[in-house]
Amino acid sequence: MTIRLEAVTKLFPGVARPAVDALDLTIEKGQVCVLIGPSGCGKTTTMRMVNRLIEPTSGRIIVGDRDVTKADPVELRRHIGYVIQQIGLFPHMTIAQNVATVPKLLGWDAARIKARSEEMLDLVGLDPKLYLSRYPRHLSGGQRQRVGVARALAADPPVMLMDEPFGAVDPIVRGRLQEEFLGILKRLSKTVILVTHDIDEAIHMGDVVAIMRDGKLVQYDTPDRLLAAPANDFVADFVGADRALRRLSLVRAADAVEPGGASDGFSLPGSLSMRSVLSALLAEGREAATILGEDDQPLGRITLAAIRARGAGTALS
């Protein structure tokens, strides 16, 4: 479902500046849109207005073809997946009961709920036989995070809202979870709004990134364009001085080869990012590397010159 925000504004009582100021934003069906910005920029407030946990002061929010500001909030929320940083699993319920929350609210029958719960746990990589009857306190942080996502997906909502969903787990686990969930969300073609303060997470998980500041939208672009052409100094600062390197991290070596091979046979796997290729070339003091496919067959090569050209170039895609 498309999500459209039209001149959405939120004014909190007693605070002069609007938390969200006449925001216009359109997210296409199936896209992952990341909202990012410094503390207080309004990203979380914006997300929470989509499911009416916060009421907009003015403006319209259209999800699919419904103006959600006119809908029944409780009914609305049962059709939107919601994942928060601390997850908020219900400690007095089993994992099965937690995952079954929204289906139960929607009145599904027991057999359908059971089947769906098992399917969801499988989806997030947890063995249903082992985990369904356990309680949240028996699970590690990463496992709880997975259950949180399973719970949000259980009723198959077309839209997902995620607020720093991987913030509470350690960095090692976080990277893995990001990869996995991106895969799941893409496979299920959900429309997602994800709030984060981590620019790396934003550029890796987002199809589009919306940078906000003081309640206003500053730039709304694909990650690559955002990094290649920041709209102003604030954005340039925010994405970081090493944005050129970040751009390289978005591209897989196997996707960027040119014909040929390295003269000395130095080779690297194609699954590496261009950034990692650059790092390896610098470390080894070489000019080029042969890129190998999954079967170790050479796909082509990448040269420092090519990397330099790509890094300096304007946005692709």
Binding site: R78, G88, L89, F90, P91
Partner: protein, 209 residues
């Protein structure tokens, strides 16, 4: 101990009366106290008033409340119940309110975000999670009520206090001791049982082990 052995049926009857006093008193206190506690958790100003009033009731000595109710309610079981409920009310309301307020806000946010309506939220999430604290309150309330019910014999409400008073007026030491020991045993039993229930509930709802 001869009296007790020969008259264990009288003793058991008194025990049963005592349990009835405490049980009915507790039930009514819960019926009134839980909704008031829920309201207190949501409205701090209301909470203040409620806690002040029930706090005052709790401070007044049991015998005084019984005596003051005589001109209006007379003697017997139900006047005693009124006083018993008054005593339990403060603790129940306070613990319900505290239990609800102590629930992690993340859990409530997640529940709201998933589409729990207000009533369902209260019954499926909030009250169950507040239960350990509520049970802790019930425990204190029950022990207090066993004590107050002992004095209720003074207004002819029956119970184990009756055995004690008979022992005093008849100068019959054994009745006094048996009565005192029986009430103490009842109080200790209730306290222990509820403590176990409370601990079991806390373990069941722990967020982390």
């Amino acid at each position: 101990m001869t009296w007790a052995i020969e008259n264990y049926d009288r003793l058991l009857l008194a025990l049963w009366e005592h349990i009835q006093l405490v049980g009915v008193g507790l039930l009514i206190a819960l019926v009134i106290g839980v909704p008031l506690g829920v309201l207190s958790a949501r409205r701090p100003r209301f909470a203040l008033v409620v806690l002040l009033v029930s706090g005052a009731l709790y401070t007044v000595p049991a015998l005084a409340i019984f005596a003051l109710l005589i001109p209006y309610l007379g003697l017997g079981f139900w006047p005693a119940i009124v006083a018993l409920v008054a005593y339990a009310l403060l603790i129940i309301i306070r613990n319900v309110a505290t239990g609800l307020r102590e629930i992690s806000p993340d859990i409530l946010d997640a529940a709201n975000g998933m589409g729990y309506g207000n009533w369902r939220l209260l019954f499926a999430i909030e009250l169950p999670l507040a239960l350990p604290v509520i049970i802790a309150g019930v425990r204190i309330a029950v022990v207090t009520q066993v004590s107050v019910a002992t004095v209720a014999a003074f207004i002819n409400a029956g119970g184990l206090g009756d055995i004690i008073f008979q022992g005093i007026t008849q100068d019959f030491g054994e009745k006094v001791v048996v009565g005192a020991v029986a009430t103490s045993a009842l109080a200790i039993f209730c306290d222990e049982s509820l403590r176990r229930v409370e601990n079991w509930m806390r373990a069941n709802q722990a967020e982390y082990i």
